[in-house]
C-alpha cells in the first residue's frame, strides 16, 4: 500500500512533464535503435560468412592442399586413396562469363563426407544427372537469374548455396575451368582407419589444413564490422547523454518529493528500489521501441552495407534483414544496461541523500567546479594514455582504443575549457548585461555540459570521418587517374574471340595491354597475380610507393615482381625480399604500389613470366591505348565486329565513375551513421534546453524587472546557445583532425593495409558549422518561442509572495 502510494507520487512527475518523459524514452529508443541496427547488420553479414565458411564442411573437416599453392595432381590423390585415406577431391576456380564471375566448385559426391555436402546437392534423385554429361550446376535463385542464357550445364536452384557460387561434379568443373585433372584440395573425412601411412610420405608437398571456423571472409571483413560497431557504439553513447541528462533532471526536480516521502517514513532503500523499478519499466518500453526502430535502421542501411561488402570483399550478404530472437534479447539488454548506467549516479545520490538537503543552484554549480577539476585530471590522464598507446601500441583494438581515449578525453575536457573561457569573458566584459550574460551562462553550464559533450562527440566524429573520407577520395581519384590509364577496356567472350580480337586490334590502336590474372595462395593467403606488359603506360603512370631505378626492367625480364601495399605491410615485405608464388616458383620484390579498395594481396609480374608459369591463364581482358578522338569509332566497330554486350566494352570514364560509385557506396553507411549521430546530439541539446527553460524564469524575471525587454532576453538566450555551440564546434576541430589522423594512419593501416595522406578541407568545416549552428538553433527554437511568448503574469509569479 505504502509502495503503491509512493510510486503514484513519483510517477505523477511524468504526468506533469510529458515532454521530459518523451525525451527520456526517445533518447533511450534512439540509442538502442542505432546500436541494435548496426548489430543486426553485422549479425546478418556474419551469418552469411558462416554459411560461406561452412561450404564443403571447411569449418569442421581437415583439408589437404599443396604447400606451394599449385594444383594437386591426380596421381597424388590416387596414392592417398590407395593407401586407405578417405579423401574427396575438390576443384575451385573462377569462371568468367563475360562480365559475370562465378565461383565454381567441383565435387565428387560419391567420396564426399556427409558433413561436406549440402543436403540437397547430388542427393535428391538427380545423382545420375549430376555425374553424367552435361551434368547439373547448382546455384542460388539469384545466381540462376544472372546466369540465364549462358552456355552452362542445366541449372538447378538450391537454397543452400550463397549467391555467386556454383557447385557441380568435379569432371564438369574441370572441363568448364579448362583445368583437366587439376584438384584444388582434398576434403578429409573425420573418421579414418587407424595406422594409415603419413600423408607427407605418400604425397610430398601436400599439407593438412585444420578446420577454419571463422573463414577467410569473416577475417577479411572483421575490420569493416569493427568500424561499424565503433560507430554504433558512438551513436549509442551520444544517445545515452540524453538519457543521463533527462534522468538527472527528473531526479533533481523530484528532490522535494523524495524529501517529503522520506520524511513521511519511506525508507531510502524502498525509495531507491521504486525509482529503479520505474527506470526498468521505461527501459523495457524504450527497448522494445528501440529494437523495432533498429530493425528499420538496419533494413535501410543493409542494402548499402551489402553493396559495400560485395564491392570491397566480394562477400555475398542478403539485402534483407531477418528478425532474430537473440537480437530482441540483446536490444532489450542494451537498453536496460544503458538506462542503469545513465541512472547509477542519480540513484546513488537518492540512496545517500540527507533528509534535509537544501536545493541551492550555486551550490550545484560550485560542486560541479570540484567535478570540473576532477574531469580535467581524468582528461589529461586519458590523453596521456592515448598518446602512449598511439606511439607504442599496434593492432586494430589499440587503434580504436586511441579513438575512444581521444573522444572521451575531449568530451571530459570540454566543460573545463568552457568554464575557463566563460570566466575569462566575464572578467573582461565591462557592460553589466554582458557580465551577467557570461556569469549566467557559466551557471547554466552544469545543466548543458552533457548535451554539449554529446554535440562535441558528434561534431568531432563528423570532422574526423569527413576528413578521412575526403582525404581518401582525393587520393583515390588521383590514384584512379594513374591506374586507369587505358582509354578502353574490352573483355572477350572466350579464348577464340580473344585471339580474333588481338588480331583485329593490331594496327588500329596504339597499344593492346593484356589484363590477365590468376588466383592462388601467396604466403598463406588468397591472392591475385597479374601479368603486366612492358609499356610506357605502366612505366609512366603506375602508382608506385617504393621503387628502384630498374624496377620496370626487372619486372619486364621476369626477375622481379611488384606487390601491393597491403601485402607489403601485412608481411613486412620490402624491395629485395624473395617471394614464392603459386606453382612454387620464386621471384624478388622489385617495387610496392598502392592498391586502394582491395582487401587481398596482389602481385604483378611480367606478362611473359605469367604465361610461362601459368600457361592456362584466361586471356580475355585488355586495356586499349588510343587517341581520345578514336574511342567512339573503335568502340562502335568492336561492338559490331564482335557482337560484344555493353558490359564487355567499358571506356575509362565509365570505369572511373563505377569505381567512384563503389567508393561513395562504401562510405555512405558511415555518412548515414554520422548524420544520425549528429541528429541525436541535436536532440540531446534540445532536451537540455527544453528542460532548462522550465527553470529559467526565476533567473530571468529579476533581469526583466530591472528593465530588459522580453525580446532582449530571448536574443540573449539565443546568443547563449549559439556561443556555446560555436565554442563546441571550435573545440571539435582539433579533436576531429586528431580522429582523422588516427583513422588514416592507424585504423586504416590495421584494417585495410593502406596508409593515406591527410588533407584538410576547410569548406567542409564551414558546411558542418552551418549545420551545427542550424541544429542548435532548431533545438533552441521551441524553448525560445516559449520564452518569447511568456506572459507577464508568468514572470510576475516569480515575485509572488504567497508561493
Amino acid at each position: 500500500m505504502m509502495r503503491r502510494a509512493a510510486m503514484a507520487a513519483l510517477l505523477s512527475h511524468w504526468r506533469r512533464r510529458p515532454l521530459q518523459l518523451v525525451m527520456l524514452l526517445l533518447g533511450l529508443s534512439l540509442a538502442t535503435a542505432l546500436w541494435s541496427g548496426v548489430q543486426a547488420i553485422n549479425a546478418e553479414a556474419r551469418a552469411s560468412y558462416d554459411r560461406a565458411a561452412a561450404t564443403l564442411g571447411q569449418d569442421r573437416l581437415d583439408r589437404i592442399v599443396s604447400a606451394t599453392g599449385a594444383p594437386i595432381t591426380q596421381s597424388a590423390y590416387i596414392a592417398l586413396r590407395r593407401a586407405g585415406w578417405l579423401v574427396s577431391p575438390v576443384i575451385e576456380g573462377t569462371l568468367r562469363l563475360g562480365p559475370t564471375r562465378l565461383h565454381l566448385i567441383g565435387i565428387d559426391p560419391l567420396t564426399m563426407p556427409a558433413e561436406g555436402l549440402e543436403a540437397d546437392i547430388g542427393r535428391d534423385g538427380d545423382l545420375l544427372a549430376f555425374l553424367t554429361p552435361p551434368g547439373l550446376l547448382y546455384v542460388s535463385a539469384e545466381t540462376a537469374e544472372r546466369l540465364s542464357g549462358q552456355s552452362l550445364p542445366p541449372l538447378k536452384v538450391t537454397a543452400s548455396l550463397l549467391s555467386g557460387i556454383g557447385m557441380t561434379d568435379i569432371g564438369t568443373a574441370q572441363r568448364l575451368l579448362g583445368k583437366p585433372g587439376d584438384i584444388s584440395q582434398l576434403i578429409v573425412a573425420s573418421e579414418q582407419r587407424q595406422g594409415l601411412p603419413p600423408i607427407e610420405q605418400l604425397a610430398p608437398g601436400l599439407v593438412v589444413k585444420t578446420p577454419d571456423a571463422q573463414g577467410d571472409l569473416a577475417r577479411l571483413t572483421d575490420s569493416f564490422h569493427l568500424n561499424l560497431t565503433a560507430f554504433g557504439f558512438l551513436a549509442f553513447a551520444v544517445g545515452l547523454f540524453i538519457v543521463y541528462s533527462a534522468i538527472g533532471l527528473a531526479f533533481e526536480q523530484r528532490r522535494a518529493t523524495f524529501r517529503t516521502l522520506r520524511s513521511l517514513g519511506l525508507p531510502a532503500t524502498t525509495l531507491t528500489g521504486l525509482l529503479l523499478a520505474e527506470l526498468v519499466g521505461f527501459a523495457l518500453v524504450a527497448g522494445v521501441a528501440g529494437v523495432l526502430l533498429g530493425y528499420l535502421v538496419g533494413s535501410v542501411l543493409l542494402p548499402g552495407v551489402a553493396a559495400t561488402l560485395q564491392g570491397l570483399y566480394g562477400a555475398s550478404v542478403p539485402g534483407t534483414l531477418t528478425l532474430r530472437p537473440e537480437w530482441w534479447a540483446s536490444g532489450l539488454a542494451i537498453a536496460l544496461f544503458g538506462t542503469l548506467a545513465a541512472a547509477a549516479q542519480s540513484l546513488w545520490r537518492v540512496w545517500r541523500m540527507p533528509l534535509l538537503a537544501p536545493a541551492q543552484p550555486r551550490a550545484w554549480a560550485r560542486a560541479s567546479e570540484l567535478g570540473l577539476r576532477l574531469q580535467a585530471v581524468a582528461a589529461i590522464a586519458l590523453f596521456a594514455t592515448t598518446i602512449v598507446l598511439a606511439v607504442f601500441g599496434s593492432g586494430l583494438v589499440v587503434g580504436f582504443s586511441v579513438l575512444g581515449g581521444l573522444l572521451l578525453g575531449a568530451a571530459l575536457l570540454l566543460p573545463v575549457l568552457l568554464a575557463a573561457f566563460l570566466a575569462l569573458m566575464q572578467r573582461v566584459t565591462k557592460r553589466p548585461i554582458g557580465e551577467w550574460f557570461w556569469a549566467d551562462t557559466r551557471q547554466q553550464l552544469p545543466g548543458l555540459s552533457l548535451a554539449l559533450m554529446a554535440l562535441l562527440l558528434a561534431l568531432s566524429a563528423n570532422i574526423g570521418v569527413g576528413t578521412m573520407v575526403s582525404s581518401f577520395r582525393l587520393t583515390f581519384t588521383g590514384w584512379l587517374d594513374q591506374r586507369l590509364a587505358a582509354e578502353l577496356y574490352v573483355t572477350a567472350r572466350d579464348e577464340a574471340q580473344a585471339a580474333d580480337l588481338r588480331g583485329w586490334l593490331a594496327g588500329r590502336v596504339d597499344a593492346v595491354l593484356p589484363i590477365w590474372s590468376v588466383s592462388g595462395e601467396v604466403r598463406g593467403a588468397p591472392a591475385e597475380i597479374f601479368g603486366v606488359a612492358d609499356h610506357p603506360t605502366y612505366r609512366n603512370n603506375w602508382p608506385l610507393l617504393a621503387s628502384v631505378p630498374d624496377t620496370w626492367d626487372r619486372v619486364a625480364k621476369g626477375t622481379g615482381a611488384l606487390i601491393n601495399e597491403q601485402l607489403s605491410r601485412r608481411d613486412g615485405l620490402v624491395i629485395g625480399d624473395s617471394l614464392m608464388l603459386p606453382g612454387g616458383w620464386t621471384t624478388t620484390v622489385a617495387g610496392v604500389y598502392s592498391d586502394y579498395g582491395n582487401p587481398l594481396p596482389q602481385v604483378m609480374i611480367g606478362i611473359d613470366a605469367l604465361t610461362t608459369h601459368y600457361p592456362d591463364v584466361a586471356r580475355l581482358r585488355y586495356g586499349l591505348r588510343l587517341p581520345s578522338d578514336k574511342i567512339d569509332v573503335i568502340s562502335e566497330a568492336l561492338r559490331e565486329r564482335f557482337d560484344l554486350p555493353p558490359e564487355n566494352l567499358v571506356d575509362q570514364a565509365s570505369l572511373k565513375r563505377r569505381s567512384l560509385d563503389i567508393f561513395e557506396q562504401t562510405f555512405s553507411v558511415t555518412a548515414a551513421l554520422n548524420i544520425l549521430t549528429l541528429g541525436v546530439a541535436g536532440l540531446a541539446m534540445f532536451a537540455s534546453l527544453m528542460t532548462l527553460s522550465t527553470m529559467r524564469l526565476p533567473q530571468l524575471a529579476p533581469i526583466w524587472a530591472m528593465g530588459l525587454t522580453r525580446r532582449q532576453l530571448v536574443l540573449l538566450e539565443l546568443a547563449r546557445t549559439l556561443v556555446l555551440a560555436a565554442i563546441t564546434l571550435l573545440a571539435a576541430l582539433p579533436v576531429g583532425l586528431g580522429l582523422a589522423w588516427v583513422l588514416l594512419s592507424v585504423v586504416n593501416v590495421e584494417a585495410f593495409g593502406w596508409k593515406l595522406p591527410m588533407h584538410i578541407f576547410p569548406m567542409d568545416w564551414v558546411r558542418l558549422a552551418a549545420l551545427a549552428l542550424a541544429a542548435s538553433l532548431l533545438s533552441a527554437f521551441i524553448p525560445l518561442r516559449q520564452l518569447a511568448a511568456v506572459a507577464p503574469s508568468d514572470l510576475l509569479r516569480v515575485f509572488a509572495n504567497e508561493r
Partner: protein, 225 residues
C-alpha cells in the same frame, strides 16, 4: 506628483471564473514621500505595485509615473521606465545567483547608466556589506540578502522605490533593522517609496497608509508624529 493612479481596475481569469483584483483605484504619491499599502492576502496590494512598476497592464484606468502614462508605453518603453525611474525590492530578494554581492549591488545602477563608485562605497558601508562583497547570494543570510537587494535598488538612485513585503522573509528584529536602514537611505536619496506590507506597525513608519480590502481602497491614513 510622481505617481498617479486614476480609476484603475485589474482582473484575472481563474479556474473559478473572473477575479476582480483591483476596482476603480485612485491614488497619488508625491516625490520624496512614502506610502504603505496594507491589506489581507489577495486584497490586490502586490498587483497594484506591479502595475505601477509597468510589470503588468491595468484593464482600465490611467497610471502615470514621473509624468509618463504607462498605458501609452510599449514593452521597450516600460522596460526603460523600470530601468531608469523605478527600483524594485522583493520579499524573495531575487538577487542574481551567478553574480557576486559587489556585482549584484552595482548591477541596476550600471544598467541605468548611473553607477557612482563613491555612492556605492558609502551605501555598501551603511548596509554593512563591505566584508561580503566577494560572496555569492546563496552564501548570505536572509537579512544580508535583503540588504543587498535594497543596496542594488538604491545604488541606481531611482525616483521611485517599489518594495513588496521587503521584510516578509525576515525575523522581527532583523526586519526592523533592515526597514530602518531602508527608510533612512530612501530619505537620503530623495526617492519616493511605495511599499506593500502586511504589518500595520511597519506601515506606520511611512508618510501615508492605504488599506485595501477586496481590491478597493478601504481606508487612508496619514502618519501621526
Amino acid at each position: 506628483m510622481l505617481v498617479v493612479l486614476e480609476d484603475v481596475s485589474k482582473s484575472y481569469q481563474t479556474a473559478e471564473g473572473r477575479l476582480d483584483v483591483l476596482q476603480s483605484i485612485d491614488l497619488s504619491l508625491d516625490a520624496g514621500r512614502s506610502l504603505a499599502l496594507t491589506g489581507e492576502s489577495g486584497s490586490g496590494k502586490s498587483t497594484l505595485l506591479h502595475l505601477v512598476a509597468g510589470l503588468d497592464h491595468p484593464d482600465a484606468g490611467r497610471i502615470t509615473v514621473d509624468g509618463q502614462e504607462i498605458g501609452g508605453l510599449d514593452d521597450k518603453g516600460r522596460a526603460t521606465l523600470r530601468r531608469s525611474t523605478v527600483g524594485l525590492v522583493f520579499q524573495q530578494f531575487n538577487l542574481i545567483p551567478s553574480l557576486t554581492v559587489a556585482a549584484n549591488l552595482a548591477f541596476h545602477a550600471r544598467l541605468a547608466g548611473r553607477f557612482d563608485a563613491d555612492w556605492q562605497q558609502r551605501l555598501t558601508k551603511r548596509l554593512g556589506l563591505d566584508q561580503l562583497l566577494t560572496r555569492y547570494p546563496e552564501q548570505l543570510s536572509g537579512g544580508q540578502q535583503q540588504r543587498v537587494a535594497i543596496g542594488r535598488t538604491l545604488a541606481a538612485r531611482p525616483k521611485l522605490v517599489l518594495a513588496d513585503e521587503p521584510t516578509g522573509n525576515l525575523d522581527e528584529a532583523t526586519g526592523d533593522a533592515v526597514m530602518a536602514l531602508m527608510l533612512s537611505l530612501v530619505a537620503e536619496t530623495g526617492s519616493s517609496l511605495l511599499m506593500v506590507t502586511h504589518s500595520r506597525r511597519l506601515a506606520g513608519q511611512l508618510d501615508r497608509r492605504i488599506h485595501l480590502r477586496s481590491g478597493r481602497i478601504d481606508q487612508t491614513a496619514e502618519r501621526t508624529e
